[in-house]
Symmetry: C2
Subunit: 334 residues, 2 copies
DNA sequence: CTGAAAGCGCTTACAG
DNA sequence: CTGAAAGCGCTTACAG
């Protein structure tokens, strides 16, 4: 391993002069030395030791990306896409991305402090522990999709409630009167609750109803199907809390011989690329994942540069993408 | 920040004794001190500083995961899934995962050396630079899907050639006689070439042929469609080098009014979860991504524990998954 | 079983 | 413009 000392000896100067050149503090070094030292650095392939730098300067250049969950969290396309944009952007800013999949709150602080991360971005639900995490880690912490009531909170979210509203409205406009809401058991978070609330409120404001037994969050998709197809009041319109769920639901309903959208109309959430390729193409609520990722990083760096900046909770808009999975019952034979 | 020194002072011992406890070298410390020190560590929430540890012990506990590409590399489900399994497994082994998206060879060494990574796993094509990378980084380096001729190489690959063979054989058995091969322009790698070769060889061994103009790797999917539908000898069987490509191809063909599999039969590669949900369900060549990821990590740690271990090139099997996107022309009206 | 000393590779803060 | 000294938080290697 080549060190500052090696370069210094070769150049006949002190390590400080080399350090200045490495850190491009050119105004503090003679042109002659800058040139000489840079050429030696290139010839020897010197790479600064980040650990040493981090230890002495208290600046690690590490951004931690903390994702809730442990198993296959990147099989969820939403997480994979977010992570992809974030890592890319972090690199472009000259920082390093360290990725942690985490279930237990205490691990968060451990990882952050262990590497002296300068900031962190959270994907998933950490609401219950946000205060403690903030308490223990005095660095910029950017949460996503949080519904925590903590006042001082940097968060990038989307208008989940409006997503539910848009879905309900679209169903109602198309003549649907009996609704269901489907989510995975594992994803019972505020985020999902908001989508449900927007959906339910809109239905009720229209003088219709979404009863408890039409809200399905069982362990197995099979159980969902079973219940969905045997409800006392048959349902025609299903709002799934995520495209993933919608697509699997659609697949299994089709396998049982049901037609989409004739027997069941479905709306998803996320507008994943995949939703365009299934058949029928999935009508869904879209969120701009790239924008969300970029905002997250940009705000993180703003706070890195100015710790006095007030926190901000940014809510991005959502949009209904009409495709083929919702039947218009107004024109359809009654 | 709490340091060893703080704990030592509180316990009335030297930092060495605390260090021994932190590193669980319990046989070297009195039971009384172990207990006292551990309770102080818990009370104060001490977290060891990994940079300091890395600097003094030359052991960083960092595994770098290097993914070729810069833009949206995790939008490719294969990459996302591999990365997910790898990060999870790395964590379970008590190491930290640092993720780098990289285009230029020189960045590899820079990142590896900068953080003193103890090992690295590569996703994507680095064949041209493997020798240089190995030369500059004397740590265990695990490549995936490499076709490099470097003899000393740790690699986990799959039998791409066989994948091509299986696809061709399936088409031929189902009465197809005119074939095409489709890949994205960006993915012209040995990996893809092997899939093509297996496909082409099998076709030719059956006394049929795959001419140059039936091998399509244009920039835009639209151009592919255009050429595919205007070939002098009309094609009925298309082998796409990846499920991604197959699914997009299928989508666009359907939009133009072609029927799958009646007008065009299609086979993909990877067996992504998505391939089950499209309509018709995609017949594809499957590879076991989880197994691949686990092998990669396991071999990495074996070499970490015993640097003298010989390198190994592990090739996993592939399998044809028959679904609905291939028409049996033997029974179909001729 | 315990600890004092030296050092990992760098930067900060200061003196000149 | 340059450099000697001290220190970041830990571990290694040694002495007792």
């Amino acid at each position: 391993m080549i060190t500052l000392k090696d370069i210094a000896k070769e150049a006949g100067v002190s390590v400080m002069t080399v350090s200045r050149v490495v850190n491009m503090r050119y105004s503090e070094v003679s042109e002659e030395n800058i040139e000489k030292i840079n050429s030696i650095i290139n010839r020897l392939g010197y790479v600064p030791n980040s650990s040493a730098r981090s230890l002495s300067s208290k600046s690690s250049k590490i951004i931690s990306i903390i994702i809730q969950g442990e198993n296959n969290v990147l099989e969820t396309p939403y997480n994979a896409t977010m992570l992809g944009y974030i890592v890319q952007h972090v690199q472009e800013c000259g920082f390093n991305a360290m990725v942690h999949f985490i279930n237990e709150y205490s691990d968060v602080t451990k990882h952050l402090q262990s590497w002296n991360a300068e900031g962190a971005i959270f994907l998933g639900t950490f609401d219950k522990n946000i205060l403690q995490i903030q308490e223990n880690n005095k660095i910029p912490l950017v949460f996503t999709d949080s519904y925590s009531s903590v006042r001082q909170l940097i968060n990038i979210g989307i208008d989940d409630y409006k997503g539910g509203v848009l879905a309900a409205r679209h169903f109602i406009e198309n003549g649907h009167r009996e609704f269901a809401f489907v989510t995975l058991h594992t994803s019972v978070s505020q985020l999902i609750q908001q989508r449900l609330r927007g959906f339910k409120d809109t239905i009720e404001n229209a003088g219709l109803s979404l009863s408890e037994e039409h809200i399905l969050e069982p362990f197995q998709m099979e159980e969902t199907i079973q219940r969905l197809t045997t409800l006392k009041k048959p349902v025609t319109a299903i709002f799934a809390a995520a495209d993933n769920t919608a697509i699997e639901l659609m697949d299994q309903l089709k396998k049982k011989g049901y037609r989409i959208p004739e027997d069941f109309s479905i709306i998803g959430f996320d507008n994943l690329p995949m939703s365009r390729y299934v058949s029928p193409q999935l009508t869904t609520i879209s969120q701009d994942i790239m924008k969300k990722a970029h905002y997250a990083i940009d705000i993180l760096f703003q706070h890195l540069n100015d710790p006095a900046l007030p926190t901000q909770n940014i809510i991005l808009d959502v949009e209904l993408i009409k495709r083929e999975s919702v039947l218009d019952r107004n024109t359809f034979a009654k």
